[in-house]
């Protein structure tokens, strides 16, 4: 089981959409995952396996401390999948 936090500015809109998409993708890939949505402050320093967010916000994370994956869109599943698939698989295998 990997834990993922999706992040947007407020933690209730876009990140929630992203969370739903990531859950779908994880299910498709057969990766057991716990996905949560959060605002930026809540996600910073959070203990999780992966943070998924967009470019603007990704820059503000300390990427040495937290694994951050950048997506181009919050809603387009094809694009999201293309952006996260590899990372997801990698994180999931390492976890095992």
């Amino acid at each position: 089981m990997i834990t993922i936090v999706t992040v947007c500015g407020n933690g209730i809109g876009s990140s929630l959409m992203l969370k739903m998409k990531i859950e779908e993708i994880c299910a498709e890939l057969g990766i057991p995952a716990q996905v949560e949505s959060s605002d930026f402050n809540g996600a910073k320093g959070r203990n999780c396996d992966l943070i998924v967010t967009i470019d603007e916000l990704a820059k503000q994370f300390d990427q040495t401390a937290q694994r951050v994956c950048v997506v181009r869109s919050y809603i387009n599943k094809k694009k999201i999948k293309a952006d996260v698939q590899e990372v997801l698989q990698e994180v999931s295998t390492n976890k095992k």
């Binding site: 947007c8 500015g9 407020n10 933690g11 209730i12 809109g13 876009s14 929630l16 959409m17 739903m20 998409k21 716990q34 949505s37 605002d39 930026f40 203990n47 967009i54 603007e56 916000l57 869109s73 919050y74 809603i75 387009n76 599943k77």
Partner: protein
């Protein structure tokens, strides 16, 4: 031979001089009858020893002979300085505990010598004890062969005993009585020794787990364990029908706790081991001594906790601002409660009565909100547990604002055709949103057996029933409506305050003088005005996207001059219906200035929003379509936008459904292209509608 009580009396008279009987009654806690009875006993004994008897001197009271023989002293039984006779309540508990633990035949004589009262008093106490036990589904049975026994499910019996013990601990003499009883069973000094042993095991456990237990509960559990161990020695054991070992085996603390249980002499393989282990897991921790690693373990229980909070918010019509904090603090209580419920571990809540008196509404609501937990454990929650959880909620919500607002259940009885009754149902539901119409009966179908399921009924014909009945005409006139409202308020809600005007009544008055275009809208806004909050609207219903993006919420405009203006324009319908305060618009703009144009979710689409606290009064959404794109970020052509969806959420979840539908809609890039080309509100509505049923 002198018994303890008589000896105590003699000693008192000898040491303190003559005493009046009245005084002695108080001093010894005996009745006048008991004292005269004892005096007679003493005198018989004194005469046997060749001494003159005690005299009752009218002027001084009871007097011992003046020439006291020193030799008699030696023959007197040693009197404990303080002989305590248990009170009726304590006797009740002592009887139960004795029967619970004694490993041989318990006879009436055993009980008489235990309680130090007469046979008839013991019999009366046994009756009381039996009544008390019955409340816990336990029967005190007497047979010649086995003496007194407790009959019932072992789990229930233990619940009963936990109750006794927890009460005892609160009595002044309780510990002493428990100690005496225990020592009688196990030999002098054994109580202290075993108590110390268990206490040290528990404090080791605290250290190893890095937590701190609530002291009062620890004492309770130690004493309970003491007596439980006696019972286990007696050969009575708990048995779970299904194998529950696995549930506990995965818990982090199980290993440590399990080891301690083995130390108590309970073998690992037995169900008893599980029982005692979950008893310890179920011990309440002190707040602020909680181990984070344990916390992350059980997501399922944590989400259950969140569901309970949401349920509570809906039922109580409040929104809890520091949900996260409440969820955490509640989780730490629900977790042990869950294991207690699962393994039928007793807990006693000494505050229960007070809680129910002080917060009757809150208590009822919390109990209702705990439904998910009950379903999860498949066992009803006890009032004791619910009481504790009530306290948690109580500290997070302003209790004064909460009233039980549970919808009344009603049925309609109507011998007319289906069309009329459906019309009636529709009208009544509209008139009284606080009433839920369960079903419509014709007179012949009416089932008296099911009357318990509803609170009142509406009928077009008079007939006999035990429930409040409100007579109605098949078609309601304005006058009828006013009368129904009136009857409902007075007979069903039992409103005392005649002066307070309800939203319904205001609505009726408005209807008399004006035509209302949007009745629901008016009703909701009036509710907002009167109640001062809005979270109430949704009662568990999650709106779909077409509920939010209604005709009035959609605007089409040629162009705007800045993205700030775009947001202002896009949000203006929300301002009009008072779903947001003006500051919400500023908050959205600030957010974008601070965090960048991340609200542009897809090419051409922006979903600006801010936190619910920034001035959202009602869950809502609006849409602005621009014929000419506006840039949200001057140097980035990808941030040009033509479709602006303003989202105003009241919490983290009620907009979920609508949001996921919006996501589905926007995911198809064709839909975006299509919308950019649209020129009428109708075409938007059509597209939105088609995504509302997913």
């Amino acid at each position: 031979m002198l018994d303890q009580r008589a000896a105590a009396l003699l000693n008192l008279l000898k040491n303190y001089g003559p005493q009046r009987i009245k005084r002695l009654e108080k001093e010894l806690g005996c009745t006048r009858r008991q004292i005269t009875y004892d005096v007679k006993k003493i005198n018989d004994w004194l005469i046997d020893q060749g001494m003159p008897p005690i005299q009752n001197d009218r002027s001084k009271g009871l007097t011992v002979p003046s020439q006291w023989d020193e030799k008699v002293d030696e023959k007197m039984p040693v009197v404990k300085t303080y002989t305590y006779i248990a009170s009726p309540n304590e006797r009740k508990g002592l009887i139960l505990l004795k029967v619970f633990t004694h490993n041989e035949y318990v006879s009436l004589n055993h009980l008489i010598s235990l309680l130090k009262v007469s046979k008839n008093t013991v019999l009366a106490s046994i009756k009381e004890a039996a009544k008390f036990a019955e409340k816990h589904h336990v029967i005190i049975k007497y047979t010649r062969k086995n003496g007194y026994e407790l009959v019932g499910e072992e789990g229930d019996i233990r619940f009963l005993l936990m109750h006794c013990i927890s009460e005892f601990i609160r009595y002044e003499e309780g510990y002493k009585l428990l100690e005496d009883l225990y020592n009688q069973e196990n030999g002098a000094g054994s109580y202290e020794q075993s108590y110390e042993k268990i206490a040290s095991l528990l404090s080791e456990m605290e250290k190893q787990l890095g937590i701190k237990y609530v002291e009062e509960k620890v004492q309770e559990v130690i004493v309970f364990l003491l007596f439980l161990l006696l019972r286990i020695q007696k050969g009575v054991s708990i048995f779970y029908r299904d194998d529950r070992r696995e549930i506990l085996a995965n818990l982090k603390e199980y290993e440590i706790i399990s080891e301690k249980v083995t130390h108590l002499g309970i073998s690992k393989e037995t169900d008893e081991h599980l029982y005692v282990a979950s008893l310890l897991i179920g011990l309440q921790c002190k707040d602020g001594h909680i181990n984070e690693t344990v916390f992350l373990m059980e997501r399922q229980l944590y989400s259950l906790t969140q569901v309970i909070i949401q349920e509570f918010e809906l039922l109580a019509c409040v929104s809890i601002s520091n949900q996260e904090e409440l969820a955490r603090s509640l989780y730490f209580h629900i977790r042990p409660a869950y294991y207690r419920m699962l393994f039928h571990i007793p807990i006693v809540n000494p505050l229960l009565k007070q809680i129910k008196e002080e917060f009757p509404d809150l208590f009822v609501l919390v109990k209702k909100s705990l439904k998910p937990l009950e379903e999860f454990v498949k066992r009803p929650i006890t009032e004791e547990e619910a009481g504790y959880i009530t306290l948690h909620f109580g500290s997070y919500v302003d209790v004064a604002n909460i009233q039980v607002d549970l919808r009344k259940k009603a049925v309609i009885v109507c011998p007319n055709g289906m069309g009329t009754s459906n019309m009636l149902k529709y009208q009544i539901e509209k008139l009284l949103p606080e009433v839920e119409i369960l079903t419509i009966y014709s007179l012949s179908d009416y089932d008296y057996q099911r009357e318990v399921e509803f609170d009142l009924l509406f009928s077009t014909v008079p007939f006999q029933t035990t429930k409040p009945i409100i007579m109605v005409n098949p078609i309601l006139t304005a006058l009828d409506k006013a009368r129904i409202l009136h009857e409902f308020d007075f007979h069903v809600l039992k409103k005392q305050d005649v002066k307070s005007v309800g939203v319904n009544q205001i609505m009726e008055v408005i209807k008399l003088f004006t035509t209302i275009n949007d009745e629901n809208g008016l009703y909701e806004t009036l509710c907002d005005l009167v109640m001062g909050n809005t979270a109430a609207q949704f009662r568990g219903y999650k709106p779909v996207i077409s509920d939010l993006l209604k005709r009035e919420m959609i605007q089409i405009k040629d162009k705007v001059n800045s993205w700030q203006e775009a947001i202002h324009v896009a949000a203006s319908p929300l301002l009009d219906i008072q779903a947001i305060e003006p500051r919400y618009i500023d908050a959205m703009i600030n957010n974008i200035e601070k965090l960048g144009s991340y609200v542009v979710l897809a090419p051409n689409v922006a979903i600006p929003h801010a936190r619910p606290e920034s001035g959202v009064k009602k869950l809502s959404m609006s849409l602005l379509k621009l014929n000419e794109p506006i840039s949200f970020s001057a140097d980035d052509p990808r941030k040009n936008v033509q479709l602006i969806f303003v989202l105003a959420a009241v919490d983290n979840h009620s907009h979920l459904k609508a949001l996921s539908q919006l996501t589905e809609l926007l995911e198809e890039e064709e839909n975006i292209d299509q919308m950019v080309e649209m020129s009428t509100t109708e075409s938007f509505l059509e597209l939105i509608q088609s995504y509302s049923e997913i």
